[in-house]
């Protein structure tokens, strides 16, 4: 527990964490100090002057809150007349050259400048001279579109490329009202975290080419999720919307702060994985290459598993812990060999020391925890004797080429329980569509052995069943997630004391 200090804000006594600056310390107890350039991940820059606060009896009496440490007995003034005037004047200065094109700006609705204008300014512009014209719609690379006129020069993006990615593509050139953020000629943004500048930008100067004009942000529902793009398990907001007469669709992923896992950012690759949740989804069940209703396909699979003498279950390393456990239990009752082979998910050397991991699966640690054999030899030897392979959403194509796959599947019946349509579902004899990770609740363990829960975010018009549900209909004992947890607590020593309801939002570090 951090050391606490007592200070007063607007005469109100509050206890805050010591060693933090005033914005963070006071913000943690619910008192907001307006700020534009400060960001906890990028540190204090002090250029916007929006966070100026008064310190009663202090020397100096007026300080930027982002650069001032919370100290015992400090008397912070936020609602004094002279502070209100400063906030009002700073807003007026910021808005001198800011085009108020909010109707066509993607940031409108989540724009700091817009919110602060309503809160601290609220007056008509007094400018009589035309605004300074700058370049608009500049392609900065990596899917970032920049509008220099909207920019308020807080330099968050510049500091991000210098401090976080250490690539330094962005800079501010010129001075005064001609100052602008730009790239070096012919050297566009070139790093794997570039789209974070879109989230960092407090105004609409940085927009994402991918999300541009797709939706107004106030239509979007924001649900919490965990990215399944790699084994880091970054925390995200799933922004989705169900338009009238249409299906619920994800429009973007945004990073969600989790100091234990990803901090404030996510990688661009992970951000774009939302497309996999929308596109090429498997929607119809298939039995022997003929379309079928899902329930009869499940029945056919049930019979196939029962009549098979040597079934093999292949589990995807992207499955949730509950799904893996349900499949494992089913395998035990049906005498099936359980494999977690998924070497194809690992891209050796692709990871970096920031967030991106080599392993492109979300829950390999879960496979290992449940004792599922992930070796290639085990899978290949099991396949030699198998007469049925039930593949639970594992992408075999990234491990084997087409010829090897033919050889492997030559003598056995092939079943896919999958989310996405691909060449595997095309050749499978029984195909059952299931919910993708934005459509079910579950838990995953990331590369750092942190257990995280996530909840159902997207509700499709015709929702598919979760793998846990499908498995129980094939004949498994595990009916739902709570049954899976009861089973796991009994059989997995590491999870013995874990209460699924009490896993904190930051995730639970498992001791192994």
């Amino acid at each position: 527990m951090a050391e606490m200090v007592k200070l007063s804000v607007n005469g109100q006594e509050v206890e805050v964490e010591a060693g933090k600056n005033l914005i963070d310390a006071v913000g943690a107890v619910g008192i907001e100090i307006p700020h534009l350039c400060y960001h906890p991940a990028l540190g204090a820059d002090g250029n916007c002057r929006m966070c100026l606060v008064g310190i009663e009896d202090g020397r100096p009496p007026l300080v930027p809150a982002c650069k001032t440490q919370a100290a015992e007995g400090m008397k912070v003034q936020l609602d004094a007349e002279h502070i209100k005037k400063i906030q009002h004047d700073v807003m007026e200065l910021e808005l001198i050259n800011h085009p108020t094109d909010c109707p066509i700006c993607d940031q409108a609705g989540e724009c700091a400048l817009q919110d602060y204008y309503q809160k601290y300014d609220g007056q008509e512009s007094r400018m009589t001279v035309p605004q300074v014209q700058k370049s608009k719609k500049l392609d900065f690379g990596c899917g970032v579109v920049h509008d220099q006129e909207r920019c308020i020069l807080c330099a968050r993006c510049v500091r991000f490329t210098r401090q976080i990615t250490k690539t330094g593509e962005l800079g501010i050139v010129n001075r005064t009202d001609d100052a602008r953020v730009t790239i070096f000629p012919g050297r566009p943004l070139n790093n794997r975290y570039a789209l974070n500048v879109v989230d960092l930008c407090p105004v609409g100067a940085m927009t994402s080419k991918d999300f541009r004009f797709k939706q107004r942000v106030w239509f979007l529902s924001r649900d919490k999720g965990v990215c399944h793009g790699c084994s880091k398990g970054c925390n995200i907001f799933i922004d989705h919307n169900k338009e009238k007469y249409k299906d619920d669709i994800i429009y973007r992923f945004r990073p969600r702060q989790n100091d234990q896992v990803n901090g404030y950012f996510i990688c661009d690759e992970g951000r774009m994985t939302y497309k996999k949740e929308n596109e090429d989804r498997l929607t119809v069940a298939k039995v022997n290459n003929a379309e079928s209703i899902i329930s009869s396909a499940v029945d056919t699979l049930k019979n196939a598993v029962s009549s098979s003498s040597n079934p093999v279950f292949l589990v995807s390393p992207n499955c949730s812990l509950e799904q893996m456990f349900a499949i494992k239990k089913l395998g035990e009752t049906k005498g099936a060999t359980l494999c977690g082979f998924s070497d194809g998910y690992i891209k050796q050397g692709d990871g970096d020391d920031l967030l991106i991991q080599d392993d492109k699966s979300a829950n390999r640690a879960g496979l290992e925890l449940l004792g599922v054999d992930t070796s290639k030899e085990a899978f290949q030897s099991a396949m030699k004797e198998a007469d049925l392979l039930v593949n639970f959403n594992s992408d075999l194509t990234n491990s084997f080429d087409a010829d090897t796959l033919d050889e492997l599947l030559a003598n056995c019946k092939f079943v896919m329980v999958a989310t996405t349509q691909d060449i595997l579902t095309d050749r499978a004899e029984i195909v059952i569509p299931v919910a993708a990770y934005s459509e079910y609740s579950g838990s995953v363990i990331n590369a750092d052995n942190i257990l995280q829960m996530f909840n159902k975010a997207v509700v499709k018009n015709e929702p598919f069943d979760d793998i846990v549900n499908i498995v129980s209909r094939i004949g498994g004992d595990i009916e739902d997630n709570s049954a899976a947890w009861a089973g796991m607590k009994a059989s997995v020593p590491t999870l013995k004391d874990v209460e699924p309801e009490q896993i904190p939002e930051q995730g639970l570090a498992l001791n192994s």
Partner: protein, 174 residues
């Protein structure tokens, strides 16, 4: 302060009225008097010969919508979704895209109004920051034989011209 009591005179209690037939003939006399006077001279008729004679619509009348254009014929709408956001019936469906000309950056590629869902409240017109949507076409009777035809596309909305001059429309309080 005393309570005021107003006594209502009840008709129909006299013996003449109770006879009923006398009152029927009195009533028929009125009917035939009107019939005869209208039959001989229908210029004073209190009804309109609709649909041959259309009613006069004031500029403030909320008729069928249209999308307005700049002088050079380019669409004024910038696809800000204010009308769609404000629409209580959710009858407006917009899809935005990049604008080709150098006016702004955004333009609607799809702008559908389902007139079967529209309640003609005029909130879209009030919400519009560009004066891009108006209900001044003077079209008050929207009919069709299929549901699909009742869905106005962007081209149909652009094709209709306003029924009033700019001065008249502005006088209406717009």
């Amino acid at each position: 302060m005393s309570i005021k009591v107003k006594t209502i005179v009840r008709n129909g209690r006299s013996w003449q009225e109770r006879l009923y037939l006398i009152e029927v003939f009195k009533g028929m006399a009125i009917t035939f008097r009107h019939f005869l006077s209208n039959f001989l001279d229908n210029s004073k008729l209190a009804v309109r010969h609709y649909p041959e004679v259309k009613p006069e619509i004031t500029p403030r009348w909320r008729g069928r919508h249209r999308l307005t254009t700049h002088e050079d014929g380019t669409i004024k709408c910038v696809a800000c979704y204010m009308c769609q956001t404000n629409c209580p019936a959710q009858c407006i469906q917009i899809e935005a895209g990049e604008r080709g000309d150098d006016r702004t950056e955004k333009v609607p590629v799809k702008f559908d109004i389902d007139l079967l869902e529209c309640i003609y409240c005029g909130y879209c017109v009030e919400a519009c920051p560009m004066d891009a949507i108006r209900m001044d076409t003077g079209i008050f009777s929207v009919t069709s034989s299929t549901r699909e035809e009742m869905k106005m596309s962007i081209d149909q909305l652009l094709a209709t011209k306003g029924a009033f001059s700019e001065e008249e429309y502005k006088k209406g309080g717009a």
